[in-house]
Symmetry: C2
DNA sequence: CGTAACCTTGAGTGCCCTCAACCACTGTGG
DNA sequence: CCACAGTGGTTGAGGGCACTCAAGGTTACG
């Protein structure tokens, strides 16, 4: 299945840098497939060789690492427009896994064509590097959260960060949005146990900071959440979309 | 001060991919300066605009983030051959800081010339992206360590990881190498308090896993350290040097 | 209506934290 | 030459945050 990049409903959102017809044409040429996968699918298997690169077109995903004894750390969450597998495609074997959190649609960018992109469309190659840097800055934030914040602050920081990202994509309506993480996902992302995550969430809900039920999160007191997390971030910059 | 890249003593080490004369010439042209800075110098200031890109030629450095209330998280350590400031140069303001841990020498790669590199030397541009991905994989590892390992395991994982990186650069002799981190640095990297870091270090030393005195670390039982950290990593791949 | 996945709650423990000293070493200036 | 300050490392006491264990409740779904 091919898709017509010129009418891409994602590209027109203000979160993304607008592109010339010519650039979109180059991207359209590069795309080989448009995939739909159900929730829970492994997009990149840890240790996988020759993995491909994708643009997440719709849905949520996450990157993770497992220790040999089964402990799991979620490294970052991926939202529409994010690149999947750039890092994995650079090394001989993927050092992490990626899994679909919801049903997702992916645009397949074969790694070999990415290669040729560097020779033929330097400005797009630069944007790939840019997206890689942005992916790293998300992990930098998460490491700071896990390393230096307590449980309540971690939950607050995660919720604000996801809220802002969802908002930039127009997914927030009446200060509420689809929130597909289970408490186990939250625990694995924040370096907490499941039980403690549950109790921390309940306390914050009781304080009236947000509502969270049936995979829907409603922000009730963003200022208090930001103050709790000591979280004052620059607003999100417009980013390229491939 | 200019430096003659053709005789670069770093480039000949087996850790790095060997390059053609022509590629080295391109790199040499791009280099604008060779800086020597004392330990403790801030190389990139958080929030700095228009930061430059450097290759760390000698010495150690680290990237960090501060919370508004003063808590510090060290994101990753940088050793010779690593790129400094790639991520910062992509955004309008640096989202993190970088500081010299020892006296360092830096090769200055002006960000504007990096830009032109994408147009003129695609294989080098690709290697910049590669180095960015490698930098991220280091942070991925650190996040996994901080999120899912206990104090003893964290210390073990950090020491093995730095040992392997130093070894790949030929800095290890008789299983010992210069180890410039203070206990405060270790604590800030691992998300632990200074006091608990001290006690954990002492216990591991008493178990005969390693010696650490006067900024020199001697590995005594690598197998036991790896087992403790549940750390079984792929060996380090040869990497490009710019 | 049974099963599985997810969420909730309580009890008890321990890892890691903070607070508070004290020690070792180095460089500096009177 | 020695007092002194500064930096970094060491140790003990005590408490709390987050952990594990265990059980039960709720929701979704075939």
């Amino acid at each position: 299945m091919r898709v017509w990049c010129f009418d891409c409903p994602l590209r027109v959102k203000p979160a993304f840098k607008q592109k010339s017809e010519e650039e979109v044409a180059t991207i359209h040429e590069m795309k080989r497939d448009h995939l739909k996968l159900p929730a829970g699918t492994e997009i990149i298997h840890p240790g996988q060789e020759d993995s491909e690169i994708y643009t997440l077109f719709s849905g949520w995903a996450f990157r993770f690492k497992m220790l040999p004894d089964g402990r799991r750390q979620i490294l970052s969450f991926l939202l529409p427009g994010d690149l999947i597998g750039l890092q994995a495609s650079m090394f001989s074997a993927a050092l992490y896994g990626t899994e679909a959190l919801t049903a997702v649609e992916l645009c397949l960018l074969p790694r070999r064509r990415i290669w040729t992109l560097f020779g033929r469309a330097p400005e797009l190659a630069f944007e790939i590097t840019w997206l890689g840097a942005r992916g790293q800055s998300l992990v930098d934030d998460n490491l700071t959260t896990v390393g230096r914040r307590n449980a309540a602050e971690r939950v607050a920081a995660l919720i604000i960060s996801l809220y802002k990202r969802a908002d930039s994509l127009g997914l927030v309506k009446d200060q509420a949005f689809e929130f597909p993480l289970s408490q186990q996902h939250i625990a694995d992302a924040l370096g907490l146990s499941l039980v403690h995550t549950n109790k921390t969430l309940r306390r914050l809900k009781q304080r009236g900071l947000f509502k969270l039920e049936r995979n829907r999160l409603e922000m009730q007191n963003r200022g208090a959440l930001e103050k709790l997390a000591d979280y004052f971030d620059a607003p999100i910059e417009a980013r390229p979309l491939l």
